[in-house]
């Protein structure tokens, strides 16, 4: 039998929470249909690892399921789950005990692609190029840049979350900006 969301029906947060509170099996199915891929990508944007992303989202849903009969959420379910995904990603990074102070090798294809002299890009193309470069930033550099850019975290917050110095945060963000700027320079005429 198809889940209702697969049949084209959409659920409001309130409906999903009511189903969870009522311990209805359908609730988890609806959560997966509505949020699984989104949350995996939220985690992936932070830690860039598909397997860990799926593990972390499983844990988030499991936690929700454990608290199903008493869970009360006062913000949108999407925002709540997104916050949980980011927090768990940060926990994962801490547990990995990455050494953010160490230099990483930068192996990036910084050449302009298929431009043949026409280097000026439309806005969408420029974004696409920047997205490609973000995805290929060195892992630690990418994590710190992402926390600043996409999670709007301050230097102090990033340093506190990862247990590193503000100086290290600054250096990694500057490094990311330098790489990104270098990559798009051929297009900026």
């Amino acid at each position: 039998m198809l889940a209702e969301s697969q049949l084209g029906m959409s659920y409001q947060d309130e409906d999903i929470l009511k189903m969870l509170n009522a311990n209805e099996d359908q609730a988890i199915s609806v959560l997966f249909d509505n949020f699984y891929e989104y949350l995996c990508n939220v985690v992936y944007r932070v830690i860039n690892d598909r397997d860990y992303a799926e593990d972390i989202v499983q844990e988030i849903f499991y936690d929700l399921w454990r608290k199903r009969e008493r869970i009360q959420i006062n913000i949108s379910l999407r925002a709540y789950l997104r916050r949980a995904a980011v927090n768990r990603s940060l926990n994962h990074i801490r547990k990995q005990r990455m050494k953010f102070e160490e230099d990483e090798e930068v192996v990036l294809d910084l050449k302009a692609k298929g431009t043949d002299g026409q280097l000026e890009l439309e806005k969408d193309e420029l974004e696409t190029r920047i997205f490609e470069i973000i995805e290929s930033l060195p892992p630690k550099c990418r994590i710190i840049f992402g926390l600043s850019r996409f999670e709007n975290m301050s230097y102090q917050e990033i340093a506190d979350e990862l247990g590193i110095s503000i100086k290290t945060v600054e250096n990694q963000i500057s490094k990311a900006l330098k790489i990104l700027r270098t990559a798009i320079q051929p297009y900026l005429v």
């Binding site: 598909r50 801490r94 920047i130 500057s174």
Partner: protein, 331 residues
């Protein structure tokens, strides 16, 4: 000028983190034509990167099946109420928790009161209005029918951590004894009463709590998240108190707020029923601010702490014994 410094200043500017001297430094640089293109390009990079979101595909059906297998074995577990082991016997020993008051319902003695007691364990319960409570060992809560409209008046004897379900126009009032009360709309806070001194302490984790006294002094104060206060019996005098450590030992929350590392080890040791040996003077200067770790296992928490303090080692030295070494942060 070091180019990385320029990147740092521009990034701080783009994220609103410039201080006054950096602002002046950046303004001076902006007047130099050689740096103009860097400002422009970094602004472009920053703006264009805003909408980045991966477009990875994940197999939802397989994930659902995996999840279903996992919960299949858990389904029989009740989710409504459960007891937790006594988490901090040491703290209990120094906190004399004795009954100091019984709520007298204002209009009628016919109101049927429910009683929740915690004898040997901390009791967790969800009240009929969906308020969550962790009731400390030896404590008692009396509450009326909380589903009817109007104020939700409960009385506490001892110590409890409340996560009050938000209900507009239905304040949740805790009688602290001696004409002292804590009133909230929707929040999380810890209450501790002490009959020997007649005082009550309130520490607010979320939301707002109004602490007041109905005797002639009519003292009152409003506490926000992160604030705590002690109210005296009789006079209703109120003084602020610092929140050190977590808000409550009851709420199964292994999160720490500026907590001395030795206290963190003590709490973890009690929580997991293991013995953690450390040299208090040498690590007393370390303070821990951690995320919520109540889902973590012992090893995971140790890994987090070792990550926070490079050089520190926590070794398993017996069946339930651990030894901390390699760290020095004396006060």
């Amino acid at each position: 000028m070091n180019k990385l410094r320029i990147y740092q200043l521009i990034h701080r500017d783009l994220t609103g983190q410039l201080n006054h001297s950096e602002e002046a430094e950046l303004d001076a640089l902006k007047t130099q034509s050689e740096y103009e293109h860097i400002f422009a390009e970094l602004t472009t990079v920053w703006s264009a990167s805003k909408n980045y979101f991966p477009q990875q595909k994940f197999d939802v059906s397989t994930a659902k099946a995996k999840f279903a297998r996992r919960i299949a074995t858990d389904k029989k577990r009740p989710a409504k109420t459960f007891s937790m082991p006594w988490l901090l016997a040491a703290a209990a020993a120094i906190v004399l928790i004795i009954a100091i008051g019984i709520w007298l319902y204002p209009s009628s003695s016919a109101v049927k009161m429910q009683i929740l007691e915690a004898s040997s364990d901390i009791e967790y319960a969800i009240l009929p209005d969906n308020t969550e409570i962790w009731l400390g060992q030896g404590s008692m809560l009396k509450y009326p029918d909380l589903t009817v409209p109007g104020a939700r008046n409960v009385s506490l004897v001892g110590e409890a951590y409340f996560k009050v379900a938000s209900k507009t126009n239905a304040p949740f009032v805790v009688d602290l004894g001696k004409n002292n009360y804590a009133e909230v709309i929707g929040t999380a806070f810890n209450v501790k009463t002490d009959v020997t001194t007649g005082t009550a302490e309130v520490k607010v984790n979320e939301g707002i709590v109004r602490l007041y006294n109905t005797s002639s002094s009519r003292m009152s104060t409003t506490l926000s998240a992160g604030q705590g206060a002690r109210i005296q019996a009789g006079t209703g005098q109120i003084e602020s108190i610092p929140i050190v450590g977590s808000y409550s030992f009851f709420a199964n929350e292994l999160n720490f707020k500026n907590t001395p590392l030795p206290d963190v080890f003590d709490k973890i040791g009690t929580f997991f029923e293991v013995e953690i040996t450390y040299d208090r003077p040498s690590i007393n200067g370390c303070r821990v601010n951690s995320p919520l770790m109540d889902d973590f296992g012992l090893q995971e928490i140790f890994e987090v702490l070792e990550g926070l303090y490079p050089g520190m080692s926590i070794e398993n030295t017996g069946e339930k014994n651990y030894t901390v070494s390699g760290l020095s942060c004396a006060e």
